[in-house]
Every structure is written in structure tokens, then in C-alpha cells.
Point group: C2
Chain length 235, copies 2
């Protein structure tokens, strides 16, 4: 963790009751989808030492209308003085709170293959206040290794580890054939968030679990669709 | 490439003028976003030897309303007989055509770090008719290696390679500081599709380039938002 992250995590360390209250009311998925983008752009502005930004500037950066930005922020009580613009650091802290950056969610990566190892070495977690603590695999050749700073532990030790180290998020990078069983074990051990790269849909309706599916292939195909369209137009 | 993929690529090998014509008309982004999901589910049905499916069955699988599915397919001329259901293989071939699977798009991976190597070994490309041919990096320790079946070549050789090997897609997995320069070189060398994992927005308005940005961190934060909401509700 660098100073930049530490400073803003400290600022945001005390959950704000207002923000918590507004977050509770339920916000449309489209707005929620934009929040991580705001978070990224605001980090970039802070790095550039930009202290204030108007909704029209933010609008140009984000390629979203200024009125959309004002509406989005109003969902959470509104963060700025119109005309005078937004205080970048205040906005960053508020959005961090809504996204739970200050919660310091703890994560494990289940599956120490290529993708798991790539994620295990990635700074993405630290930048978002998420703390990976260990990786798990079934392959004896991998167990005992260290990836970045993460130990690779045996899947046999999963339940014991989670009992001793309460964990919020499991990143599923294991083969899809093993996804359902692993997800069930994680849910039973009290993991409430699954970040699912396996491509397999998970059915855990009996458990209080949130699942975020990543289908990289879908993103690739969206690009292929655009290229196909381009080539058809050239015919 | 396995038999499964080869058979359906062969079936779809001749571009269909009707499909090309409908694709040309412009379809809403929401529909386009669902096409790769249809593709995934139809592959799964074919694997299960399921030959026909009703829109209501497909609807349950996809968690989209049956009427939405009919509307989506109507954007491309409609693929089925209502009541009798859809012919799964026909639907798969048609959607493959719209997505350009039969184009056999050629790809390079620029950046042979952890993520690049994880993608280079991934079967995702072959399953979608995309053919990765090489990886590029600036690190002398990596140049000359082979990742999966892909040679890692020097970035110095990029232009020569692309001139000799026309390439449709570049997967950008290099550090964000290098993203803009690499993207420009690729666009100038006639690459029309960029699959951008760098987290840096690319400005290539002068070039006929389609960009698909992948922000894995945004997906992680969406999960954090849900977990934060869950913990706020428990208070």
C-alpha cells in the first residue's frame, strides 16, 4: 500500500451514517455501474493535484452528460455545490465509502493457475482497499509456493483457514468443473462475496452470497461483433 | 481447435447475406451485449445434445424474459418458429455469424506479463474463432520464450510482423504508461480492434479502430458495493 491509498483510506476510515443510510435505500444498477468509474477518474484527478472539478469537466472525462452526473450524485444525497463544482477529495472519500473501500474487505484467490497468479500479483486489490491474504489450489506442485506476497495453500485447508481468518471475498479462478463445489464450501464457511471468473453460473440461493460474474469472452465477442460490422460495411 | 468448434465454424463458413444485411442496420447496445451470452448458452445446449429450445426455456436459462428474447432475435430477422421453438444449431450458426466467429479474426497480445501470459494460454480465443498468433514485449528475458503455442517477439519487430501478418485484434496487457504509444503503433499498422486491459482510456479518433475496454477493478468494486450494502443492512 502506498501513501496515496493510506491517506485516503484513513480519511474515509469512519463510516458516514448519511452515506450508509442513502446506500441502504437501493440505487439503480446503472448508477451503481458508474460508481467504480467515478472512483477511477477521481483517483486520477487527485494524482494530478486537481482539487475542484465542475460537473461539465467530469462529464467530458467520463463521457456521460453533466445532468446524468448530477442525477447520479443526487442518489447519494448530492455531493457538490452546483456552479462552484465539486471538491475532488470530498467526492473521492464519499464514493469510497459507498463502495466499501474503507471496509478493508479480505479476499482469498481460489485457483492458483495462470489467471489466479496474474490476479494475485495485481495492484488492483490494494487500490480498492481489498486485502488478499492467501491463494488455494489442489496441485501439490503449487501448494507451498508464494505468489507475489500470497502463500498458496491446499484446498484441504480451506475451511480451517476461513474459520481462523474471516474472509469477505473469494476470487474463483479454478476450472469451471470445480466451481460449484468450491462455491458451496466458501458459502458454508461464511464468505459473502464471490468474484467468479470460471464462466460457470453459480446457484447459491440458500446462502447470503453476492456473486459478480466476469465473462472475459463476452467482452472479446463484443469487439468481434464491431469488427464484423466494420468488415460488412466495407463490402 | 477441437471437432466441436471446427464443425460449427465449417457450417458457418459462408457469410450469410441476410445476416450481414441485418447486422448492418445497427442494433441497440443492450441487444449486442446479450449476443455473447446467447452464444455461450447455445454452446452449452449443443454440448448437451439438445436440438430444440423454446423461448421460455432459453428465458429461464438466461434470466431474461421470453418476450425479450423474441425481440432480440427479431433485430436480426428472427430465427425461430414460435410455439415449436428454436433449432439450437441453426441459432448458434446465425449468432456466430453476427458475432464474426466465422471471420477467424487474428490477434496478437501486446505485453507478456502475468495477465498477457494467462490470456495467451487461455482457450477463450479458440472457442470464439479468434486466432492468437504472437505476443510482444520489451523485456529481453521474455523475448524468445514461448507461451502456450505463442512466440514472444520484441516490440521492435511489431510493425514488420503486422505488415507480414495482417492482424485484426491486439490485446493490450502492457503497463498503462505504454498504452497510448503502443495503441498508436497498432492503429497505424492497420489493427482495427483493441481489447484494452491497461485501464488507460485510448484516444484514436483519427483511426478506424474499435476499442473494448476491460476494467476488472470496476467489476471488483461492484461486488464490494454489494457487500458494503449487506453489512450496512446488518447494522
Amino acid at each position: 500500500m502506498n501513501d496515496f491509498d493510506q491517506t485516503y483510506l484513513d480519511t474515509a476510515a469512519q463510516p458516514d451514517d448519511d452515506a450508509a443510510a442513502t446506500a441502504r435505500q437501493g440505487v439503480s444498477p446503472a448508477v451503481i455501474k458508474r460508481l467504480p468509474r467515478y472512483y477511477r477518474y477521481l483517483r486520477e484527478l487527485i494524482r494530478q493535484d486537481k482539487l475542484r472539478i465542475s460537473s461539465s469537466e467530469l462529464s467530458r472525462m467520463m463521457r456521460v452528460t453533466a445532468s446524468q452526473i448530477r442525477q447520479d450524485f443526487n442518489c447519494f444525497g448530492g455531493f457538490g455545490q452546483q456552479g462552484y463544482g465539486y471538491n475532488v477529495k470530498y467526492l473521492y472519500v464519499k464514493i469510497s465509502e459507498i463502495l466499501g473501500v474503507n471496509r478493508r474487505f479480505r479476499a482469498v484467490i481460489v485457483g492458483a493457475g495462470n489467471l489466479g497468479r496474474a490476479l494475485g500479483r495485481n495492484s488492483m486489490f490494494a487500490k480498492r482497499g481489498v486485502v488478499p491474504t492467501a491463494m488455494f489450489d489442489v496441485d501439490p506442485a503449487l501448494i507451498g509456493q508464494t505468489v507475489g506476497e500470497l502463500p498458496v495453500l491446499s484446498m484441504d485447508a480451506l475451511e480451517d483457514y476461513l474459520a481462523a481468518n474471516p474472509t469477505d471475498i473469494a476470487v474463483l479462478t479454478l476450472p469451471k468443473e470445480c466451481a460449484a463445489e468450491a462455491a458451496l464450501r466458501l458459502a458454508k464457511s461464511g464468505v459473502h462475496g464471490l468474484w467468479n471468473f470460471t464462466g460457470r453460473e453459480l446457484e447459491l440461493d440458500e446462502y447470503d452470497v453476492r456473486i459478480e460474474n466476469v465473462h472475459l469472452g463476452d467482452s472479446l465477442m463484443t469487439l468481434c461483433y464491431e469488427l464484423n460490422l466494420m468488415q460488412n460495411e466495407e463490402k
